[in-house]
Structures are given as structure tokens and as C-alpha cells.
């Protein structure tokens, strides 16, 4: 039983982590592509249209990866989490079905047109199809996070005698107080990833003295979008989300922050330290007194509940993992803001393109927003444990009753092998596109 649950969780974690590497880029990137196309419509400067084409290529590749790795996610609710699906399908199936009907049809129908139809449609309609794809991908994120929010903070439901959750208020799913801060936080984080990628490729072109004029455009655009989104991730959305966690899942908050013991006179904020869960303490701790109470409640001396206030079987299952995920996310988020503020400062002074060390930093910073997004999601998911539906349905009660651990391990290994192949092909192709550069990007539009 334990082993079965472990493989079920590993398979979901592995496939969703890999999957979300792609949508986190495409959601934000669709906005930047629409921006480039809009600039082209306004200025008629060909460079913007080339930029649109270049990023569309990268977008299309990422989008395809997102689609092929996304279908297994929808299937796995049933294959590996049958009990959970049976009990809650009437509710979470609703938002997931809406995602398929509203987003995927929109995206998949117009992506082909967007890629192949520029000449046919003219630039205005080409811009509109780009906008539609963006709406589709942002709606998809919204409906997934509506589903996620219901699991974190169930609303609009009642539980029947046979244990089934049934919906009794459809609107409540979308007015869930958990939903909006999470959604905005996530979309801003997606924009952080894409801004850093756009800026990073820009820095790469400038440093390698190839496509320098495009390098400058990408860098400038990436820095401006990157600064706005990095700040928006923290304030107000991150802040609101943290306050939600304190309110609805105080034990999760204690685990995230590494508060083992309640401090009556206000809690310190832990910057660095390794949790020792057995002895309930942090090793090698660096902390600033009372800051956490202030950030959370606006009151330096407010008491924050530590893990000691809760029964052990309500504690997050993996406190160290939760603590690290959260601290890595927050730490990286802070670095992003710092880097982007300084980059904008240099941009305004007209020195951004000459500051070598900054260009190198921006280029090497590209993978880190991916790490921050991933650890952010780990914070949310590990924080919800040991529950699937918070306080109502335990993870251990949600797995498929008839699928043996050997079968799950078999498919987990298969997914690992297949995704390794997909990852290599992806890197090969994305490298080809970047190497070719924006000047040489030809969409197949002329041929149609």
C-alpha cells in the first residue's frame, strides 16, 4: 500500500513537473508575442514582425510539448487516482471539462492558422489569432488553477452519505478566495519565465555578436516585462497568497517558514537554515526577528502558530521538502527583482548593452525562473499534504485501489524514458531555432 502510493505520487509529480516546463513559457510568451505583433501594426517596423515570427517558432515548439505531455495529466486522474476521481469528479471534472472545451479547441484550431496563415489573413487578423491563442492559454491556466484552488480550499460542495462530493454552487468555484491570488501569482510567474528567456536570448545574441539588433530588442523587452512581472509576483500576489495560507492552512504556513515552536512575542523570518524535523529545530539558522509577524499581520509582535500547535498527523508529510521549496522560490524571486531593477537602471542610463557582467548574468539566469516556478508549485502541493482535498480527503485514500505498485513503476519508468527522449529532441530543436536567428526565420506562410 505504502509502495503503491509512493509510485503513484512519483509518477504524478514527475509527469506534471516535466509538463509544466512548457506551459509556463507559452502562457507568458503569448503575451510578449502579441506585444511584438501589436508594435509591428503600430510602427510597421519589420524588425517587430521578424521578432514575432522568431518567438512564434519557439512558442509552437513549446506548445506542442505542452500538448503531448498534457494529455497524460488528464488521464492520470483516472488511471492512478481513481478513488479521488470517483469521489470528487462531479466537481473537479467540471472545471477540467471546461478547460478542454474552452481552451484546447481555441488554441489548437488557431495555432495552425497563426503559424501558416499570415499572408492569407493579413496582419490585423494575424494579430487577432495571436490574441485568441493567448486568451486560450490564459483561460486554460485559469481553469486548472480553479481546480487546484478547490483542492486547497474546497467550496460550493456537500458530502453525501457514500462519501461523494457533490457540487451545490457552481459560481462558488470561481469566487473561491484561493483562486484569484493564485491565478495572478501564477500568471505573473509565467511571465517572469518568458521575460527572462526573451532577455536571456537577447543577451546571448549581443554577447556572441550575432543578430545584435534583435539582441537589443529582446533584451530591452525582456527587462521591462521582467521587472514588472517580478515585482507583481511578490507584491501584491505573493503576499496575498501567503496571507491565504496563514488563514486557511496555518499548519502549512508553519512548515513553509520552518516555525517549529510558537513564539508568543512575534516570529522571526528564517532566511537560511536546515530543518531538523526529528529534533524540531533549524540548524545553521540565519533569521531576522519579528519580521515574519510584521509581513503577515502588519504587527511586529503578533503570535504565529508553530508546528507544535497542531497534531502530528495534520503536519505536512514532507516538512523539509516544503521548507526548501518555499525558500528557494522566495530567494530566487528576490534575486530576480534585484537583477531586473539594476538592468532597468542600466537601460535608462544607456549602458545595459555594454555592461558585460550583467549580460552574462542575464543569460545564465534563464533556467532559474523555471526552478522558481517549479518550487513554487511544490510549495503549494507539498503544503497541501497529507490531503488531496484539504482537511477532507487524505492522499492515501485517493489512489486507484486495483492498480498494483509494479504496474505503476512500469509506467513511471516508461514515462521517464520517453520524456528523456522528448527533452533531448526539444533542446536540439530549440537550439536550432536560436542558432538560425530571427533574420532567417521563414514561416511557411508564403507557400500556402
Amino acid at each position: 500500500m505504502e509502495e503503491m502510493l509512493f509510485y503513484d505520487r512519483m509518477q504524478f509529480a514527475f509527469t506534471i513537473t516535466f509538463h509544466y516546463l512548457f506551459p509556463q513559457l507559452t502562457m507568458g510568451l503569448s503575451l510578449i508575442i502579441v506585444y511584438f505583433k501589436w508594435k509591428y501594426l503600430k510602427t510597421k517596423d519589420e524588425q517587430y514582425n521578424h521578432a514575432t515570427h522568431f518567438w512564434m517558432k519557439i512558442f509552437a515548439l513549446n506548445f506542442a510539448m505542452g500538448v503531448v505531455t498534457g494529455i497524460p495529466m488528464e488521464f492520470q486522474f483516472g488511471t492512478n487516482w481513481a478513488k479521488f476521481s470517483e469521489l470528487t469528479g462531479g466537481i473537479i471534472g467540471q472545471t477540467l471539462a471546461m478547460e478542454g472545451m474552452f481552451s484546447f479547441f481555441l488554441e489548437s484550431s488557431f495555432l495552425g492558422i497563426f503559424l501558416f496563415g499570415e499572408k492569407l489573413l493579413g496582419h490585423k487578423w494575424h494579430f487577432v489569432t495571436g490574441l485568441l491563442i493567448m486568451i486560450g492559454s490564459w483561460a486554460s491556466g485559469f481553469l486548472i488553477i480553479a481546480t487546484h484552488s478547490w483542492m486547497q480550499n474546497p467550496v460550493g460542495y456537500e458530502i453525501l452519505e457514500n462519501g461523494k462530493f457533490v457540487l451545490n454552487n457552481f459560481q462558488a468555484l470561481f469566487l473561491n478566495p484561493w483562486l484569484w491570488p493564485s491565478y495572478l501569482h501564477n500568471q505573473a510567474a509565467s511571465l517572469v519565465t518568458s521575460s527572462f528567456v526573451v532577455a536571456g536570448i537577447g543577451a546571448f545574441y549581443i554577447l556572441s555578436k550575432k543578430n545584435v539588433s534583435f539582441g537589443k530588442l529582446f533584451l530591452k523587452t525582456g527587462v521591462i516585462f521582467g521587472l514588472i512581472s517580478s515585482i507583481f509576483v511578490a507584491v501584491p500576489t505573493g503576499d496575498l497568497l501567503a496571507k491565504n495560507v496563514v488563514k486557511y492552512q496555518p499548519v502549512t504556513f508553519a512548515g513553509m517558514e520552518g516555525i517549529f515552536h510558537t513564539e508568543k512575542k512575534g516570529s522571526e523570518i528564517v532566511l537560511i537554515g536546515q530543518p531538523d524535523v526529528k529534533d524540531k529545530k533549524l540548524d545553521n539558522k540565519i533569521a531576522v526577528p519579528n519580521i515574519l509577524s510584521f509581513l503577515t499581520y502588519g504587527n511586529w509582535n503578533q503570535e504565529i502558530k508553530g508546528l507544535d500547535q497542531f497534531e502530528e498527523d495534520l503536519h505536512p508529510t514532507n516538512i523539509s521538502g516544503l521548507y526548501y521549496a518555499y525558500h528557494i522560490m522566495v530567494g530566487l524571486g528576490t534575486v530576480f527583482i534585484g537583477l531586473m531593477v539594476f538592468s532597468l537602471f542600466q537601460l535608462i542610463r544607456g549602458k545595459l548593452f555594454e555592461t558585460k557582467w550583467l549580460l552574462w548574468s542575464l543569460m545564465f539566469m534563464m533556467p532559474f525562473p523555471y526552478i522558481a516556478n517549479t518550487t513554487g508549485w511544490y510549495t503549494a502541493e507539498l503544503g497541501r499534504q497529507p490531503w488531496l482535498v484539504y482537511n477532507l480527503l487524505r492522499t492515501a485514500s485517493g489512489a486507484s485501489p486495483t492498480v498494483s505498485s509494479g504496474n505503476t513503476l512500469f509506467t513511471l519508468l516508461g514515462f521517464i524514458g520517453l520524456y528523456l527522449l522528448l527533452g533531448m529532441l526539444f533542446l536540439l530543436l530549440v537550439g536550432k531555432i536560436i542558432n538560425k536567428g530571427p533574420h532567417n526565420v521563414e514561416l511557411s506562410t508564403e507557400k500556402i
Binding site: 500538448v67 481513481a82 476521481s85 470517483e86 472545451m101 474552452f102 479547441f105 495552425g112 496563415g117 486507484s400
Partner: protein, 358 residues
């Protein structure tokens, strides 16, 4: 309300079958009949801009199944665990095969992805037929042994095969001679369907040859369908009871035969799209007839201890099903609009779009 969502679900699945069905068929044609580079290009051009949107119908079906019939979704997806995950892998291989081949101009590279695309398409057609066979045949719900359920009444698990390959054995498997038979029917039918799509959407040099292939395979298909009517009695003693009670339902079997008989005129059709129309009739008619023959069951039980799963005992609660109506019609309306736009933009012959070339 359950009935409404059942019709919606079956409708979406039928559309999926017709649309992605031609992709699988085109893949099989690609594997066995496309000899020259030009033939292969014609095939990828004919399905390239569509396959992704076609696959979305499967996701939509999954979503509607999940929300309207959660118990069926949970039971069947966990019970058919291995083949479903393999279908996912095959769908991934089909997609990368199709998208990768044009990325690098190298003979070896192209032939690897051609094979991946072709073999994945063939296996997908086979697996979907086998899946249909499993649903018609039913499963050992509750995993009854010696008259006692070892699991909750609506759960089961099937290995890929049992040693006897018999649909009437105590220990069932996914693949037995009955399900395999339906798998073969599916491969033949979808190959015809895919060939018709290629004839419809291209002017390739392959088309005259494909018309002969369609004609020959159609004879095979007619024989298989006649055999299947006999075989059906083994599995379901009263396959026609719904048709007898509601004679209007004979419409579906008639559709099937109109489709199959119409296809014999493939070599003299005036318009290239007619063949596709007839194979669509066959697929929709055949699929609907199968669904009707077991209705209201959606997954029959092979033991006497636990009842079959029906649309009534697996459906979600009334409120949720009603709430679904509020968004479903809006979504459906939009989907139809997208569909029309997409097929308008890519209307007519597609020989020159250069799909997937870089």
C-alpha cells in the same frame, strides 16, 4: 439529464473517431503504401494542420466523461490502466514522428520518424478497436472470485492478456480473440478512412493506387462485419434487443451498410470527397450501433454478483449535470465556429503547404 450527457459523450467520441481516425489511417497508409518521398509529403500535408485539433476531441471526451460519469471514468481508467498509458505513449510517438521528420534533412533521421509515425498510428487503430471490444465484452466488476467480490463493486483490473485468449474465461485479459478481432476491424476500417481522406485532400500520384486499396480493403471489411454479427452472439446473447424495442434505431446499422456498400463505387466517384463521406457513415453508424446494442450499460459486468455499470449508476449528481449545461452550449457553439474557420482556411487540396518543413 444522464441521457443527455451520454449522447454528448458519444457524440464527441464519434467525432474523435472520424477525425483522428483519418489521421491513424493516413499513418497506416504512410507505413505500407507510401513509397516515394512525394507520397509521404502528400500524406503529412493532408493531416499536418489538423491532427492536433483532432486529438483535442479525445481530451474533450475525457473531460466530459470525468465530470458527467465520474464513477465510470475512475473504474475504467484504473481497470484498463496499462493499455491506456500505452495509448498515451503511442499518441506521443505519433505526434513527434509527424513533427520531427521535417526538422533535419537526413535520410536516416527521416526514416526513423516515418516509422515512429506509421507504427504508432497502426497500433493506435488496433488499440482503440481492442478498447471497444473490451467495453462490449464487459469485465469482472468487483474482481469476483468464487462468488465473492474482492474489490468494491465497480472496480476491476485487467492484465494485457490471459493465457487462453478467450473472452469467456474466468480470468479475462485486455487482448483476447474477440477484442483482437475488433481491433483488426478497426485497423481495416480506419485504413480505408485514411485513404479516403488523402484522396480527398491531395492530388498526389498515390491516389489511383489508394482507390484500389480502398476497394480491396472494403471487401475484407464487409466480410469482417458479417463475421462480427455472428461473433457478437457469443459475447452478448441479445445484441438486438434495443433495436427491436425501438425500431428507429435501425437507422444506425443501416448507415453502416450504406457506408460500406457505397464505398464499392470508389473508383467511379465524381468528387474526391465522396469516399470520405461514405467511410464516415460507416464509422459513425458502426460506433453508434455498438453503443446502442449495450445501452444503457456502459461497462457490462461478466459476473452475477455485481451489476453492470450504466449511465445511471455512474453519473454525477443532478446539480452538477445541470450546471454543466450553463457552459456546454456556449462552448459547443464556439467549437463549431472554430471548426468552420479552420476547415475554411485549409479547404481544398493541400499538396503545397509544405507542412513541417524548416
Amino acid at each position: 439529464m444522464e441521457f443527455f450527457w451520454y449522447v454528448v459523450l458519444m457524440g464527441i467520441l464519434a467525432v474523435y473517431l472520424v477525425l483522428d481516425g483519418y489521421d491513424f489511417g493516413a499513418g497506416i497508409i504512410h507505413l505500407f503504401f507510401a513509397d516515394t518521398e512525394k507520397d509521404k509529403k502528400a500524406i503529412t500535408n493532408a493531416i499536418g494542420p489538423f491532427w492536433d485539433a483532432n486529438e483535442v476531441w479525445l481530451i474533450a471526451a475525457g473531460g466530459v466523461l470525468f465530470f458527467a460519469f465520474p464513477t465510470l471514468y475512475a473504474s475504467s481508467f484504473s481497470g484498463f490502466y496499462l493499455p491506456l498509458i500505452m495509448i498515451l505513449w503511442l499518441l506521443i510517438f505519433r505526434a513527434i514522428g509527424l513533427e520531427m521528420r521535417g526538422q533535419v534533412h537526413n535520410h536516416m533521421w527521416e526514416s526513423i520518424w516515418d516509422k515512429a509515425f506509421g507504427i504508432a498510428s497502426l497500433l493506435l487503430a488496433l488499440f482503440f478497436g481492442i478498447a471497444l471490444g473490451n467495453i462490449v465484452r464487459g469485465v469482472n466488476l468487483g474482481m469476483v472470485q468464487n462468488g465473492v467480490s474482492t474489490q468494491e463493486a465497480h472496480y476491476f483490473f485487467l492484465p494485457l492478456w490471459n493465457p487462453t485468449f478467450s473472452p469467456q474465461a474466468n480470468e479475462l485479459g485486455i487482448i483476447d480473440w474477440f477484442t483482437l478481432f475488433l481491433g483488426i476491424v478497426s485497423v481495416v476500417a480506419l485504413t480505408i478512412h485514411g485513404a479516403n481522406w488523402i484522396i480527398y485532400k491531395t492530388n498526389s500520384a498515390l491516389n489511383p493506387k489508394l482507390k484500389k486499396v480502398v476497394f480491396a480493403l472494403n471487401i475484407v471489411l464487409l466480410i469482417l462485419v458479417c463475421i462480427s454479427l455472428q461473433v457478437w452472439h457469443f459475447i452478448e446473447p441479445k445484441p438486438f434487443h434495443n433495436f427491436v424495442e425501438n425500431p428507429i434505431l435501425w437507422f444506425f446499422p443501416i448507415l453502416t451498410f450504406v457506408g460500406i456498400l457505397g464505398l464499392f463505387k470508389v473508383r467511379s466517384f465524381k468528387k474526391d470527397g465522396h469516399g470520405f463521406l461514405f467511410s464516415t457513415l460507416f464509422l459513425v453508424g458502426g460506433f453508434a450501433s455498438t453503443a446502442v446494442s449495450i445501452f444503457p450499460n456502459v461497462l457490462p459486468s461478466t459476473n452475477k454478483v455485481n451489476p453492470s455499470l450504466t449511465i445511471y449508476n455512474t453519473a454525477a449528481h443532478e446539480y452538477g449535470l445541470n450546471a454543466g449545461l450553463s457552459w456546454f452550449f456556449i462552448a459547443l457553439f464556439l467549437v463549431i465556429i472554430y471548426f468552420i474557420i479552420q476547415y475554411r482556411v485549409f479547404s481544398g487540396k493541400m499538396d503545397d503547404i509544405g507542412y513541417g518543413e524548416h
